[in-house]
Symmetry: D2
């Protein structure tokens, strides 16, 4: 089955900041989407990658559009507040139903990620163009497949601990920076029927998303985060009669009970 990916980009720095325009003249979203397309194609994975922008968010992340999205990557920074609450709630609901979410870099502060974490998602930061080294700390995780140890990002904004997130279900990467800080830069979470992978390398001022190793991580992440075959609905709240789960049980309407989550 085709893996249906949406790449959400805020696309605001690209409009107003000459430095960003120089690094990402085509927009970060384009570079992220192209990297996914190329890497997934090389892996022989049948995938469709579309772009969703803040400017068209009501359509590109509409109820209908999200219903046909398996995994959503999310880059935002200066305009988190411009994402309508309803859209964020819709995204969260779709994660509960099974959609994968890959918040990138400054999306630690995006509305849907914060709502899914239940914490402040605060951190230390410094924009000083420092070397970042991304170390794998999980020897068998599919998201670390084919990734050098470490990935070296020549110049990057520093993100440092204490990063105020719940303990990840699986910690995949930890970064160090030239200035000495560390950061849990690749962190996997399960929420409802959906999977979330936060990945911090990537910033509007540095060509991080052009690095093939970073594109490899993103491709691995969307494959990992794709929904399992399940009904696309949140886990149920239900009043269950005694013996509802035994063969032959019927519900109040006389219908056979289906035993699914």
């Amino acid at each position: 089955m085709t893996l249906r990916i949406a790449v959400f980009g805020e696309n605001r720095h690209e409009k107003v900041d000459p430095k960003v325009q120089e690094v990402y003249p085509e927009g970060m979203h384009t570079v992220i989407a192209d990297g996914l397309r190329a890497t997934l194609a090389a892996d022989g994975i049948d995938a469709e990658v579309r772009i969703a922008l803040l400017d068209d968010i009501e359509e590109s992340l509409s109820e209908e559009a999200l219903a046909e999205t398996d995994v959503l990557t999310w880059w935002g920074h200066m305009a988190h507040g411009d994402v309508p609450d309803e859209v964020s709630e819709r995204v969260v609901r779709r994660v509960h139903e099974g959609m994968g979410l890959i918040p990138l870099h400054s999306a630690h502060y995006s509305k849907p990620f914060k709502a899914l974490m239940g914490t402040t998602c605060n951190l230390l930061w410094r924009n000083d163009g420092e070397e970042e080294r991304v170390w794998t700390v999980n020897g068998s995780h599919p998201i670390a497949r084919g990734v050098p140890h470490p990935i070296v990002v020549p110049e990057q904004e520093m993100y440092g601990e204490m990063f105020d997130i719940p303990a990840p279900d699986e910690l995949v990467f930890v970064s160090s920076f030239a200035g000495g800080e560390v950061f849990r830069s690749g962190a996997a979470f399960r929420r409802g029927k959906g999977k979330v992978f936060y990945f911090s390398p990537g910033d509007q001022e540095y060509p991080v998303y052009r690095q093939s190793e970073i594109q490899r991580v993103l491709a691995n992440a969307v494959v990992w985060a794709r929904p399992e075959e399940r009904e696309a609905a949140p886990v149920k709240i239900a009043n269950a009669q005694r013996d509802w789960f035994r063969d032959g049980a019927v519900d109040a309407q006389g219908q056979a009970v289906t035993r699914v989550i």
Copy 2:
């Protein structure tokens, strides 16, 4: 130092439901508070237990009152919607700052718990007065100290899986019910600087909070959830200059930098 506990009670079933009035004529909150007082006193722990009701929530869970609360237990059911959003947000913020939170039974659906979890917190349920057996699955956890294996609750509402919460940081208890369902009934989470322990046994129609084993769990839980000695503030978001953490470093105002979370 005195452990300052607030016992939040919705106190609505007690006003309108004859069955509940029979089981808890003094109100569930009174039984919970008395159990904590007696059990903590037997342990030689210096504790103050106050009651906070939905009817006085603006005062009893005011900014000032919460600032002087180390651990908050929370029982609510039929009136979750009557808890003002601002109060819920205040409670969440205090957890981020270090306050312990002990959501009880139907508080799986309370506003602050849902906000801290980031999931639907849905579950199966059936009110059929079934035996519940509460099994310890963590051999070294302080919340399971002095607790029989299993605790037998003669009659209780059934709560069953799939319980839509994030995987607990520490799973302490798992329950089975006479009807065959299972439930992760004792689940510990860390959020920001605070600790959360969800404990499901306890319902308005059954005298569960009168059982000494249940009182033992609650007393263990409030001790476990008390804040560590730290500044009562959320984890910082901060722009950090290079070398800020080395001896002699000063901040932009020339002040010595303090290295705390």
Copy 3:
């Protein structure tokens, strides 16, 4: 790439116990292997399933044979002590290198599982032919794909908590039994570069491995446990020179350093 599976069977009860011969005249290993073949074929997965018995363990789990095994399922009970220590150590080493291991039922007490856990792996048990209900507690785990909630096993030996294992990295299933006990019956662990999934339903006296839902779980588990594309060697111990990980770095022999785990 072909998924190479070995199904290890102790095959002793089958030789000496009439009740077991009646339930599994062809041997449990044959039923497990056939179930894997059929289920994986239905999923379109290219897999080879071979059988390895205690009687031929030196060959069937030799260094060479294990080197060509991606995932090993393990059923043992009355003859754990007859597994040579060297074979167990070899299996453990292969897990560290990336091989998947699926210990089944009484293999909770097998040598390689105990060595990988570092705990006693003790539990409660009772052979009383009780109904077991296997509940999914992880809404997005691939091992729970296509599995009813709950799986009902009409008759089964009871395994009960406290099960003395480390907290699983991912808890997938929890069972209840007619007698009231609960058990963490599906538990996923990562060790080195390898994955381990312990699954308890299945006993020599009951036709559990003939149930299609159980076969579905086993097929899901071997797919989950297959090694990621990595060098098949344990995580390195190495003396690392400064800057070894930067472009152009060479080792003591003047060779380019490879940055792999």
Copy 4:
């Protein structure tokens, strides 16, 4: 109750290596023990700290001596192989019974730690006297109480990822080194009824154990790792009769059943 601590020291480098004699003329064990005594006394904790050396290991870690030990800290490096297998097995068994274990630095390769982990415990290393910064990544953990963020160790041996341990139950500290590597330097595990806290800062050639912040961590760790009030025996393996856990149940000998883990 008095907290009974044993500080195990290999005490071999101290005998043969002039550099180590200069840094730790009184032996590392003495500095560790004195630090624990002073820090615990300042906290008002009733503790007894004794020293156990490799030279007297048969007595100092005898069955009897271990039975009266609540928490054991362990430093070893060049003579791991000289620790008798029986002593290591005894230590592991005592952890299963509830004793706390605090393996320090090169004890990542000690027999009891490896047996409790079930992995190779391999890592990268470099002895180049580099600055280490120990960052707290868990905002509410008692082991991080009163600890600066980060702890700066001016000179230290580098330990780097991939550190081949199971994912810790709780990750408390992550270190970076001047050379760019990162390391999970403070990792908490539960095994059976016991707790294990691995802490890597500390090496024979650098006066790390003389730093008050490091002494603070060790004091916090022994308090966290002290056994809960429970029977000092491993989790049981037992054949359980139906209804054994209900009031009035008796065992095969007609004795009342006790419901403990």
